[in-house]
C-alpha cells in the first residue's frame, strides 16, 4: 500500500502531462482546433482525416519533410563518424592528456543550442566569418552559407556535428574499453595490420553500441528546430524549414493547432518506422 505513495505522484504527473497529451494529439489531429476552439471548446469540430489529407497535398509540408530527411541522412553518418574518430583517438594509448581531450570534445554537448547557434551564425558570416577566412587559405572562394539554399542545410549539419559528436563519443569510448585486451594481443601475435584489427576486432566489438547510437542520434536529428529558428528562420527559400519548424508555424503562428497535431503525429510515425527498420537491419546483420 505504501508503495503507491511513492510511485503515485510521478505517475500522476506523467499521466496528466505526457500520456493524456499523447492521446490528445491524436484526437486533436482529427479536429479543426484553432484559436476559436482555444477560447471556447464549443467551437471545436470533428473533421476526420481532413488535416492529414490536406497536409499530404501541401507542397510546403513535403518540402519540410525532405529537408528533415536530408539533414538526417547527411548529419547522422557524419556525426557517428566524428564520434567514432574522437573515441578512437581518446582511447588510443599513444595519446597524452587523454582525459583533458575527452573533456574538451564533450564540452559542446552541454552548451545551450540557441547560444552556440548564434555563435555559429557569425562563424558562417559570408564576409567576416572565420569559416570563409579559413577556406580562403585553402584557395576556396567565400560561400554565402546562410544565404544560399544549397549551403544553408550543410551549414546546420556542421553545427549539429560539432555540438553532438561528444555525446556518442562517450558511449563509444565505453564500448571500446569493453573489448577484451587479449583479442588485440592475439591479433598482434598473428601479425594483423592496424586496419585488419580495426575491421575484424574493433568494429564487431562495438557494433551493437554503434547501432544504438545511430538510432538515438537519428531520432534526435528528426527533431531539428532551434538551429533553423535561430540561424535561418527556415530560409533561404525554405531550404532549412524542418518538420518541427513547420509544425511550430502551423500551430503558433497560424494557430491551426489541429493541423499542427497531425504534423507531429506524422513525424512520430515516420521516426517510429525508420527506427524499426534500422533495428531489423541491425538484427539481420547480427544473425549472419
Amino acid at each position: 500500500m505504501a508503495a503507491w505513495w511513492f510511485v503515485g505522484p510521478a505517475l500522476i504527473v506523467l499521466g496528466v502531462f505526457f500520456f493524456v497529451p499523447v492521446i490528445g494529439a491524436l484526437l486533436m489531429s482529427l479536429t479543426d482546433f484553432d484559436l476559436y476552439a482555444l477560447s471556447d471548446w464549443r467551437n471545436l469540430r470533428f473533421i476526420g482525416l481532413h488535416n492529414y489529407a490536406t497536409l499530404l497535398q501541401d507542397p510546403l509540408f513535403w518540402k519540410s519533410l525532405w529537408n528533415t530527411l536530408y539533414f538526417v541522412v547527411l548529419g547522422v553518418p557524419l556525426s557517428i563518424g566524428a564520434s567514432l574518430g574522437a573515441a578512437l583517438l581518446v582511447n588510443s594509448k599513444l595519446g597524452r592528456f587523454r582525459s583533458f581531450f575527452r573533456t574538451v570534445y564533450f564540452a559542446p554537448v552541454v552548451t545551450t543550442l540557441v547560444a552556440v547557434a548564434v555563435v555559429w551564425r557569425y562563424i558562417f558570416h559570408t564576409r567576416y566569418g572565420f569559416l570563409n577566412y579559413g577556406l580562403s587559405g585553402l584557395g576556396i572562394d567565400p560561400i554565402d552559407w546562410m544565404g544560399d539554399p544549397h549551403w544553408a542545410m550543410p551549414a546546420i549539419v556542421i553545427l549539429a556535428v560539432w555540438k553532438n559528436f561528444g555525446y556518442n563519443m562517450i558511449i563509444l569510448l565505453a564500448a571500446l574499453q569493453n573489448i577484451p585486451e587479449d583479442l588485440y594481443e592475439a591479433a598482434r601475435i598473428d601479425g594483423a595490420s592496424g586496419w585488419q584489427v580495426f575491421r575484424h576486432i574493433t568494429i564487431p566489438g562495438i557494433a551493437p553500441v554503434l547501432l544504438l547510437v545511430s538510432i538515438l542520434t537519428m531520432t534526435g536529428y528528426f527533431q531539428l528546430f532551434a538551429e533553423p529558428y535561430v540561424m535561418t528562420e527556415g530560409g533561404p527559400l525554405q531550404s532549412t524549414l524542418s518538420v518541427l519548424y513547420f509544425m511550430y508555424e502551423e500551430g503558433f503562428k497560424w494557430w491551426s493547432l489541429g493541423r499542427a497535431s497531425a504534423v507531429a503525429f506524422l513525424l512520430f510515425v515516420l521516426m517510429f518506422l525508420v527506427t524499426a527498420f534500422q533495428l531489423r537491419l541491425g538484427r539481420q546483420r547480427g544473425d549472419r
Binding site: 511513492f6 504527473v13 552541454v110 544504438l212 532551434a226 529558428y229
Partner: protein
C-alpha cells in the same frame, strides 16, 4: 625500440580536434570583449585590440539580461528539485517495493520512451492554457517534473541496494517514509547528483517549449530571450556573443565541476536500448 611515428600522428590529431572543437567557444568569449563593430573586419580578429566590458554592461542595463538569467535559474532549479523528489520516490519503489502491476507499469513507461516530447506539445499547450498556466514558471516546468528516464536511472541504481538492510529497518519498526528519507536517500546520493545535473542542464538549455509557453517577455528564459534578441539585432555581433557567453557559461561551469556524475548519467542512459 618503439616507432614514434604513430604516437606523433595520434597526438597531433588530438590537438587539431581540440582546437577545432574549442575554437567557437573561445572565439565567442573573445568577441564578447570587443567594442561594437570591431569583429566586423577582415581578416577576422582573434583577440580584442581594446578589451571592454561594454557589451555585458549593455546587456544588463538595456536588455534585461539579469531578469532573464534569474528566470532561467528559477525555472531550472524548480524543475530540478521537484523532478528529483518525484523520480527518486518512484524509481526506488519500482526497484524495491512490491505492488500490483509493478512490472507491467514499468514496461509501459519504458515503451513510452519512443514517443518524442514534441508530439505532446500542442495538446499540452491547450492543457496548460486551461489550467491558466500560460506565461508562468509553472507552465514552463510541467513537462520536466517527472521523467521516464529519471525513474529508470534511479531504479537501476536502487536495484543494487541490499534488501537485508531495508528488511532490518522494517523489523526495527521504521516506517516506509523514514526508511526512504534516512536510509535510502543517503545511499542513492551519487545517482541523485547525476539526475540533478542532467535535469538542471536540460531545463536551462530547453528552447522550444519555453518559446511556446512564455508569451510574456518578462518571463523569458535566457535561450528564448537570446533567440529574440538575435533576430532583432542581427548586426550587433559583439553584443550577441556576450549574450551567448552568459547563457552558456553557467551550465559549462556546472558541467566542469560535476563532470564525473554527468558522464555516469549518459552511460547509464545508453544501456536502456
Amino acid at each position: 625500440m618503439k616507432r614514434r611515428g604513430p604516437a606523433v600522428v595520434v597526438n597531433l590529431l588530438l590537438i587539431i580536434g581540440a582546437v577545432l572543437t574549442a575554437f567557437p567557444l573561445l572565439w565567442m568569449l573573445s568577441v564578447s570583449f570587443m567594442p561594437t563593430g570591431a569583429a566586423s573586419s577582415y581578416p577576422p580578429p582573434l583577440l580584442p585590440a581594446e578589451p571592454t566590458l561594454d557589451n555585458y554592461r549593455q546587456l544588463f542595463a538595456n536588455h534585461n539580461a539579469g531578469r532573464y538569467m534569474l528566470n532561467s535559474a528559477i525555472v531550472a532549479s524548480l524543475a530540478t528539485v521537484i523532478a528529483l523528489v518525484l523520480n527518486t520516490m518512484a524509481g526506488y519503489a519500482f526497484a524495491k517495493l512490491r505492488f500490483k502491476g509493478r512490472e507491467r507499469i514499468f514496461q509501459t513507461l519504458l515503451g513510452a520512451l519512443v514517443i518524442p516530447a514534441q508530439v505532446t506539445m500542442i495538446p499540452l499547450f491547450a492543457l496548460v492554457k486551461e489550467m491558466g498556466l500560460i506565461s508562468t514558471y509553472g507552465g514552463v516546468i510541467v513537462p520536466s517534473l517527472a521523467s521516464v528516464f529519471g525513474i529508470f536511472l534511479i531504479r537501476q541504481y536502487a536495484l543494487s541496494l541490499p534488501d537485508e538492510l531495508l528488511e532490518a529497518a522494517r523489523i526495527d519498526g521504521a516506517s516506509e517514509g523514514k526508511i526512504f528519507w534516512s536510509l535510502v536517500v543517503p545511499l542513492l546520493q551519487p545517482i541523485l547528483v547525476t539526475l540533478a545535473i542532467l535535469t538542471f542542464l536540460a531545463t536551462w538549455n530547453d528552447f522550444m517549449w519555453p518559446l511556446i509557453v512564455l508569451t510574456d517577455q518578462k518571463l523569458h528564459t535566457l535561450p528564448v530571450a537570446l533567440a529574440g534578441l538575435s533576430r532583432e539585432h542581427v548586426q550587433d555581433n559583439e553584443l550577441m556573443m556576450a549574450g551567448a557567453v552568459i547563457t552558456v557559461l553557467p551550465v559549462l561551469a556546472l558541467f566542469l565541476a560535476l563532470q564525473r556524475y554527468y558522464i555516469a548519467g549518459i552511460l547509464a542512459g545508453s544501456v536502456k536500448g
